[in-house]
Symmetry: C2
Amino acid sequence: MSAYAELKARKETIYRLEHLQSIVTWDRMVNMPPGSAKARAAAQGEFEALVQRMQTDPALDDLLAKAEDETLASADAANLVLMRRERLTASAVPEDLLRRRTNAIGAASQAWAKARSANDWDMFAEALAPLLACVRERAERLGDALELSPYDALLDEFDRGLTLEQVKALFAPVTDWLPGLIDSAIAKQANEQIIEPQGPFPIEAQRQVGIAVMTLLGFDFEVGRLDVSAHPFTGGTSEDVRITTRYREDEFFQSLLGIIHETGHARYQAGLPPIWRGQPLGVACSMSMHEGQSLSFEKQLALSPTFASTLSPLLAETFGPQPAFDPANLFKLMTRVRRGKIRVDADEVTYPAHVLLRSEIEPALIAGEIRVGDIPAWWDERMGRLLDVDTRGDFAGGPLQDIHWSQGMFGYFPSYLIGAMIAAQLNAAYRAATPDHEARETSGDFSGYPVWLDRNIWSAGAQHTTGELVVRATGKPLSADALKAHFERRYL
Amino acid sequence: MSAYAELKARKETIYRLEHLQSIVTWDRMVNMPPGSAKARAAAQGEFEALVQRMQTDPALDDLLAKAEDETLASADAANLVLMRRERLTASAVPEDLLRRRTNAIGAASQAWAKARSANDWDMFAEALAPLLACVRERAERLGDALELSPYDALLDEFDRGLTLEQVKALFAPVTDWLPGLIDSAIAKQANEQIIEPQGPFPIEAQRQVGIAVMTLLGFDFEVGRLDVSAHPFTGGTSEDVRITTRYREDEFFQSLLGIIHETGHARYQAGLPPIWRGQPLGVACSMSMHEGQSLSFEKQLALSPTFASTLSPLLAETFGPQPAFDPANLFKLMTRVRRGKIRVDADEVTYPAHVLLRSEIEPALIAGEIRVGDIPAWWDERMGRLLDVDTRGDFAGGPLQDIHWSQGMFGYFPSYLIGAMIAAQLNAAYRAATPDHEARETSGDFSGYPVWLDRNIWSAGAQHTTGELVVRATGKPLSADALKAHFERRYL
């Protein structure tokens, strides 16, 4: 066996083993009885350590060096480059630092949950500061290995090759046009008549609607499931992809749109190239691209008049007819623009503001330009400027609302807005290439866009960076232009 | 670290890792979408190979030898003896033979499913013969390592130290008294008036009854679950024990009694000694003892007038009142004796006949005294003699009804009847030691027997063999006497 073949085989073994970890993690969120948490944590920790040992086996260095002398097809050579990168980053961070970071995350998680209930920023800040120190130290080590600045090294983890400079260039125009666009959209909707749906909406009926919509969007229940968990997510594996939602009886949109969002993630996951399964080339291009797929489904496809027309009879059939299910009314309900403090509750127009402010705070924190104690003031200033919302003194509705930082997760927030840009730009390219798309959607056929995404995005795996893949798929470099055009078309 | 401590730590690691395998296996039976079977099999196979390598690590030989020179507490010494036994059996069978056996099982499983539908014995026999050859070869190797006859080596896998001689001694009296006892029981019931319950019984309501009964029997939902699968089983781990059932709307007894049966297995599993978790001493004493616990719950506890009295209002409340739910009628319904061809449908009185005949065929097959082709004739003769049932020509209702042999599982059948004997003998000892047991059960308190089982059986783990543990718990050697007394008391 060549050294490269041996490396590939080792990756495949790890992929198979991680299948178990994926299912067990899903089980933990969906099924696990509460008293079993300790034994489960021990089991999953043991497994993680085992896989970690396989991933950091010193024999890999020799195999990589030998493989780099072998003659390889170009895709294999690209796969090998990614293997080398994984090795670089895996060996860049000493175990002691990882352990300290894990402990700091444990403390920050606990503090975050308590601080959020108590609306007490200082309580969280005290636990975040030592975690941030670990995050910064780790970012420096990764940056040294990859020849990147510390924050760029963090961005790189979620979106290979992405830099703060690129993020700034992408986000700067949005910062300019967003506040005005929000004003105009809200003004335009001010006098709209909207009929509110009347609940209750029984959970089993909601589940049936969810399954019908997933089926419409091409989710394959032969290799996937829909379940319930406290926090919706897409889990499992490409061969058994499992999405979750949560229901409340008085409202169905949140769950339904959440299901559509996760269906986008799930179809991307299931659509990754099977011949590269388990290899670095076979994974998703980036988290931005992942978000680009979920938002393609949720915002581009579902928040449309044609989708509202398709949804209308389904809702009437399932819940019984009511005036709120009129297609035009459904579309209005799904596209209401409202200023608010909470990111996850935001509509698509105000959402970018929430990302912009976090994306300014994060690099400043990592660069040491501001400290944890400065976050609330930065937050309040930007929420006022970008969104005209007053968050002073409301930490739970401010910087304590997200779980990310308490998990040591810095560098992820930009992907939410980059994902929205990607979704808008991909959808515009799809529409331009598919003159009959509206006619097909009007007749209830929403398969065109997923097929286009499969061909242009999913099947490429991680062959290209986000930027390269967007150019290949749309003919243009990634920018906020399509998102702006999308907002103007839908809201102005 | 001492060599023994190292051996213990290795066992604990494997135990933790197998937690994942247990949950994933449960998931496969309960949740897995059908199209994911291939990827799942690859993942679980990879994991099994990994654990197999850990269990057969050549370094174990050295560690065992060193540990055997260390000074150990007596329980640890007993644990070490069991480790040595595991090592002996694990290294007794060459990998090539295991592979051949796995392939033969694959072929026999497929043939079995087809042959059963087609009622075609020869179709199955053709696939069973090569599998039997592998089973016999493996039994010989195991027997050589353990200084046992081949069939005793197979018995030993499910019940350490059990021999064919012991099985024969235990079963011979039953063969004598059973046919007459069945006659008498059926004759006594011949003129009974029984009211049949009127369905349908909605599945969600059945589930609620199941959960109420599990709670009554001390099942801890903080560390366990009830779900649905095609074939009911007890899975998961001691810290997260999961039972399954299947429902049909026209009938509720089968599911309910199945739930009670699995609750017995589950409580044993959850009640094993935590300080020996993952060690050879910490597992169940034997499969007979496991069956002894499930039958303690299902037959000894649940098929009683006091349990019927407790069940009666619960059923009336859940399904609405009906005459069939009268306690005396419920007891009659649960204890009807009827001759039949199918083991898993048999009542407790005719059930032993099904085991007796299989327990005569198996050792003859392994010893080479009969061939696969002889099975139907042996079957028909014994079903006629023991149960007065004619199975000639009905292979699906005869030797094709059980899955066991198609899985290469020989030596397991005796544990079903030994389990019934154990259950009767344990329950008799409990009753003798607990004068107020009937008063407590009449008041709806069924906790006494499980507490007694926990103290006398579950907490002992695998410290003793089945025979030793029965003597310790009941003061008498295991025999069929208590089972006979139980049948006479309940049915004559």
